[in-house]
């Protein structure tokens, strides 16, 4: 069981939802608008005068196989429009 945390430019919203569907991921928790800045590069997304864009964040708990498929698909999306920004992180969690 993996926890997959996705932060992305809100412009990716539809593409991310589509990816979840394609990978048969049903459950998720999402924050529609969050502020954020990449660790290495890319523009900050602060919703301010200087950096008006905002990010969305999502966490979903899926089995390992699905997590792998999802990550691949999301990376494809990111590669298509690198300037927007999309990052995926995952870690193992226990299922009670």
């Amino acid at each position: 069981m993996k926890a997959v945390f996705i932060t992305y430019n809100e412009a990716h919203g539809e593409a991310v939802m589509e990816a979840l569907e394609k990978c048969f991921v049903r459950g998720f928790t999402m924050w529609e608008q969050v502020q954020g800045r990449g660790t290495k590069e890319g523009e900050p997304h602060l919703g301010s005068h200087a950096w008006p864009t905002m990010n969305s964040a999502m966490v979903t708990f899926v089995d390992d196989e699905a997590a792998k498929r999802l990550k691949e698909r999301l990376k494809e999306i990111d590669a298509l429009k690198p300037k927007l920004g999309l990052r995926v992180f995952s870690w193992t969690v226990d299922e009670d």
């Binding site: 412009a11 539809e14 005068h49 864009t53 429009k81």
Partner: protein, 1041 residues
Amino acid sequence: MSLFSSAVKKPITTALIFVAIAIFGLFSFITLPIDLFPHIESNSIMVMTSYAGASASDIENNISKPLENTLNSVSYLKHISSQSRENVSVVTLEFQYGRDIETATNDVRDKLEMVKSYLPDGAGNPVIFKFGSDDIPILILSVTAKESMPGLYKIMDETIVNELARVNGVGSVSVSGIPKREIMVLCDPYKLDAYNLTIEAIASLIGSENRNIPAGTIELGSNAYAMRVQKEFNSSSEIEDLVVGSYNGGNVYLKDVARVVDGLQERSQESFINGKLGGMVIIQKQTGENSVQIVRKVKEELPKLQKKLPSDVKVNVIIDTTDNIIRTMGSLEKTIFITLLIVMVVVFIFLGRWRATIIILITIPISLLASLIYLYATGNTLNMISMSSLSIAIGMVVDAAIVVLENITTHIDRGSNPKQAAVYATNEVAMAVVASSLTTLAVFLPMTLVSGLAGIMFRQLGWMVSIVITVSTLCALALTPMMCSTMMRAQNKDKDSKWFKILFTPINKFLDKLSAGYARLLDWAMRHKRIVVLIAALVLIGVLAICAPNLKSEFIPQSDNGRISVTVQLPVGTRQEITRDLALELDRRWREEFPEIERLGLSEGTADSDNMFASMRSNGSHIISMNISVGSMEKRKRSIQEISNIMMAELAEYNQIKRFNVVAGGQQGGMGGQTVCQIDLYGYEFTATDEAAAQVSQMFKDLGVKQTVISRDDYIPEYQVDLDREKLALYGLNTATVSTFLRNRINGAIASEYRESGDEYDIRVRYAPEYRQSLQDVENITVYNNQGQAIRLRELGTIVEAMTPPTIQRKDRERYVSVTAPLPDGMATSDMNEAISAKIEEAGLPAGVSWKIGGTYDDQVQTFQSLGLLMVLIVILVFIVMAAQFESLTYPFVIMFAVPFAFVGILIGLVITGTPLSIMGMVGAVMTIGIVVNNGIVLVDYANLNRERGMGIIRAVVDSGKSRLRPVLMTTLTTVLGMLPLALGRGEGSEVWRGMGMTVAWGLSVSTLVTLVFVPVLYTIFAAFGLGRRRRKSRKLAKAK
């Protein structure tokens, strides 16, 4: 949910809402009536009081003065003036513009009620008249005839007058210049004396013979019959055979002492149209009706009427006041169309995408149509002000949409899908778009609050542009994102077609070079701040010092409406034949000399008292008045001013002409009328003011004026019969009886009415013309007393030549005379006012005479003042809007430096082109304030953004200049080029708004050039100052720690 996200989510609803707006707008456009100016209610009321038998000065003291003193306390009164002439006092109250005339009338009525009891016993009740622009005839038709001339009046009355009066909206139709039929009984005084007959006896006899009298009913058998005496004349020849008396046992018939002429009235106004004798039909509209519609309907009727008329009677149009309206609207429509085209080209060149261009351009018709809905809903008309507002607005409406579209494009290029890009990108710029629209609104909304004449003219402009800007902002925030989300896609540079590359590669290269060059210039300026500030200050002071003294001003420019009116006065008492000869000579000469003349209508002679329009204008056997129409200004080389000037010079050659007045445009002052300079001379003594008037008139002529008009008429020569009361008493007569006798013989007595097929004609008994041609004839008039004694008039008194004193004119409760002079070519009102003031000051006027510049000068000063006040108000408002947007007081202050340079541009433009500053130009200057700051806002906003993103001040500024150059140039170019058709227009009525286009175009271009360098420099100075202060503060804190 925000406006733009719901718009993007519901494209159909959004599209249809805007389609609905467009449809309503189109509907309004089709149904809106057109007119030259917004409806201006008349602002004056006339109070007329008659006091029979009183001389001018009696009238002045007993009627005009008390009325003036009481009416002066009516509120919102601007001027009170009066004319006192024999028998009548006319007090005119001029109210401030915008005062509800109904309320004013009620106030005046109340005051009159109060003063009534103080007026002399014999004075009539004061009557209130309102005379407004609605009373000016809208259409004057000419009627010419050959064989039908004798019966023309009746033909006109039955066909044209009745039919046209029935047309919806037509107020009154009157016929002038066509003599009425009259049965004249022209007596021979010697024969009358021989038979002991008098005019009175004959008149009363005719009156009592021309009768139908019912005598009651009579019952015969079982029936009742009416009994009647039916002796009305069946034909005019019956009159000749009346028995008027008997002499030596024989009957004396009327034909023995007089001849009966069934003909046309003796002296009346004659009209010539292009040298042909004819008449005029004058059509006035009902108050509040739309001239253009009425004239169109009347013109539709004319061909039908022509068929009913005898074949020799021709009806033509002499003056059509709507001609000019229609042509002006046509040229404005053309201007709007050209503006639209220019804006389209600019947008396409800068964007390089046809889809984007369509998205931007669609906001133009929608915003413009929306403002037409406002016009329709408030019952306004499509007029010069509303149409030019549209033209002004075109260049500005696209600005908001351009900003939104540009940001959406950036997002799409970065990879967002169009739908989301539309929402997020709009969100980012929404605040900036609203703020820059607010600065524009801060200019135009206060315009709706201006009072006075300017208020009436610019209220509509304010509302129209405010609505257009509001709707265009809504469009930019809803329609533009919606259309972008459906129509735009990521630009694929490789897919561009060949012709596209050929066309846009050089343009793009040029624009790139331009911004690179600009960046270098900015970089240099950043390092030489002092030099830049010094140059800017020098330019500002230099231009102000050189140009400001050369700036001319005028009120409203004169427009060329293709009409000239000429009034020529010969010495009073000139016989009509002589006047007619001169009139026809002028007519022939001018129609040869000026091929431009399409129609020349002239009339001379005394108007009939039942012709309202003609009798209101001055008329008399010595006055010629002409209406000349020279057609559209686009078809001729000489302007009406030039033609009028030649006419003035030619009229001055005729020695027999006492005074003349050539008015280009047909009216003086007011909206687009002839610009004149008027000097009012105040003083009690006639001789002193007369002398002063002559002096001023000569001064005007020294300044190159060809004609001056002095408002006071000369003493008019006349003959007075001075009756000796003692002699009258001796013969048992009195003044009343003798004067009635005199009047009946010279003017004639109306004995009765001759009826024929439903119409009545006067039967007038008087001396035959050959017996009333000399003073001896008058002296020989026989007067009979109660004893039947015949007494010659010469035994009762003497005939003396006398002078009637002229009308006494007063203004603001003091006697005055005005001298009016049309301006010579190339002279502005301000020039003339200065020159004449200097001359009067230098020469001085006779003691007891004071002077003032009159006419529209008052209005001009007041309007300029209220516009100046408006400018201050607008500067403050714009500052507030910007300060709120930046949440800072420094940045708006920096941006505001664009304003003085806009004025520098305006000054340079006006002085170079020699255009005087008119109120239109002033409004243009006011508008410029709101527009010039927009460029500064964009630059400063982006520089702030760059600094927030971590750039240093100088880099932030240079980068902002580089990346914002395109949008700044684009919005400025759309506005400036959008003004060009207005500024350079040569069409009908273009003189009026040319000033506005000129000021905005010059002000905005110069200030943009300055803004691009000077504002960034100032920004760095102030930002560095702020930064230094913050550093010092933190250093202090560190030390304290």
